[in-house]
Symmetry: C2
Subunit: 225 residues, 2 copies
DNA sequence: CGGTAGGTTGATTGAGATCAATGGCCGTGG
DNA sequence: CCACGGCCATTGATCTCAATCAACCTACCG
């Protein structure tokens, strides 16, 4: 098991970064800027010009749109090592808001036109980038499954698989609220809370506010289908 | 309004094809093969090796996965001019089945490694391809909205916007069954049927089996939010 | 023609939404 | 330092929309 210090190092190191093959392949880094965000601070604002791709170094973010009733629809969470911004390439401007979920969220900023230039000079990386974006086409299919129980079980599994250095039975921290989970899974916060309580009662997980621990991974997998 | 013959020409011509800037940019076409499919005939089979990208020249297809209960989950429809296959790049094998919805469906086949090679020799097309794939990250957000009515209204609008040469008030043909629509929108065929009947009763659309016509686009847009 | 798949409509049920009340945690300011 | 207010989470009671079960109709195909 990793010590907290080792975990911290791993999380902040480029070794966890899905972008590092590109970044490290260059004589100098592709990263033009590193941004530090506080909780609720915006990284991308709807309709602003698309200029950068971002890589999460530390912390977590949510991407959402607000509907005409003011309701927030979250369509993605981003964790350490993950990249974001591709959705805006086509439109040329941001099609959602992205804000930090935790204080001390750190992201690397890669200017899109520099990124394209580098790709042109290193065409062997092109396939890698296509595969990276392709992967995003297939994520979070589980938000569409039938029951609240299935979706929440799948969400917990997804979360643990995306948390670098997550160890089975080790507590994970949910960086988002019940409301956020509900918005993402299209459930109410009350339903999320009820299902989590049921999972706890049945000794599938332990949960105390934002601290969650998978007790029975097999059963959880079964519930997720 | 286009005559049926003009429509046919347009549909089958490369002018409607989102891939044509790439294909036509080459001395000879990128297309290695043209495939003709009958209704229910498979283009891609789950787990088969990923080798090609496809462009729909004519007809329509559905992509789906079958769950452990044997239920078919459709995650995409593909119409004339649209490309498919990107989802398999990351895994290297097909992660869904793709079958034709209509007899006489025609697709162009582009070998992925040839496609990559051509891209490397024409880096100015990189951005175009990234934008093309980026677009797919943002499609069919509407399957996630709240009510059956909203989803079906949005589905009809999406369908008409993706039908080449669709003219307002002109009848569109739904190439898929009520069951297919339900599978895509996560509703039952009965609910789809009921909502369509309600839209018809309220003079928002006219519908007779597979022939659908938007009578009141403004009201439909309102219902879709 | 007869068989079958697809489509419509009705009656009933149930999972999750909604409405509501309570308690804990935390940051702020007197 | 503690009081206050706001936010978040939990739990209960009730309601509602879509699923389910069921019957019947219609188009199409061998």
């Amino acid at each position: 098991m990793l010590t907290p210090i080792e975990k911290k190092l791993c999380s902040s190191a480029c070794s966890c970064c899905s972008f590092s093959p590109l970044c490290l392949a260059q004589a100098h880094s592709l990263v033009s800027n590193t941004r530090h965000l506080k909780r609720k601070e915006a990284l991308c604002v709807l309709n602003n010009k698309f200029q950068n791709i971002y890589i999460v170094k530390k912390g977590a973010l949510k991407a959402y749109q607000v509907d005409i009733h003011g309701y927030e629809h979250i369509h993605a969470f981003y964790f350490t090592g993950e990249t974001l911004g591709y959705r805006a390439i086509h439109a040329g401007h941001h099609i959602s808001n992205v804000v930090a979920l935790t204080d001390d969220t750190v992201v690397c900023e890669v200017a899109y036109d520099q990124f394209i230039d580098k790709l042109k000079s290193k065409p062997e990386l092109y396939e890698y980038v296509l595969a990276l974006i392709s992967k995003q086409l297939t994520t979070s299919f589980y938000v569409n499954v039938a029951t609240a129980e299935q979706r929440i079980a799948a969400f917990i599994i997804d979360l643990s698989s995306r948390t670098p250095a997550a160890v089975p039975l080790q507590a994970l921290t949910l960086p988002m609220s019940r409301q956020d989970i509900g918005s993402y899974l299209r459930l109410t916060a009350e339903t999320v809370s009820r299902v989590l309580s049921r999972f706890k009662r049945d000794h599938i997980i332990s949960i105390d506010l934002k601290q969650i621990r998978i007790i029975n991974p097999k059963k959880l997998q079964e519930l997720a289908q």
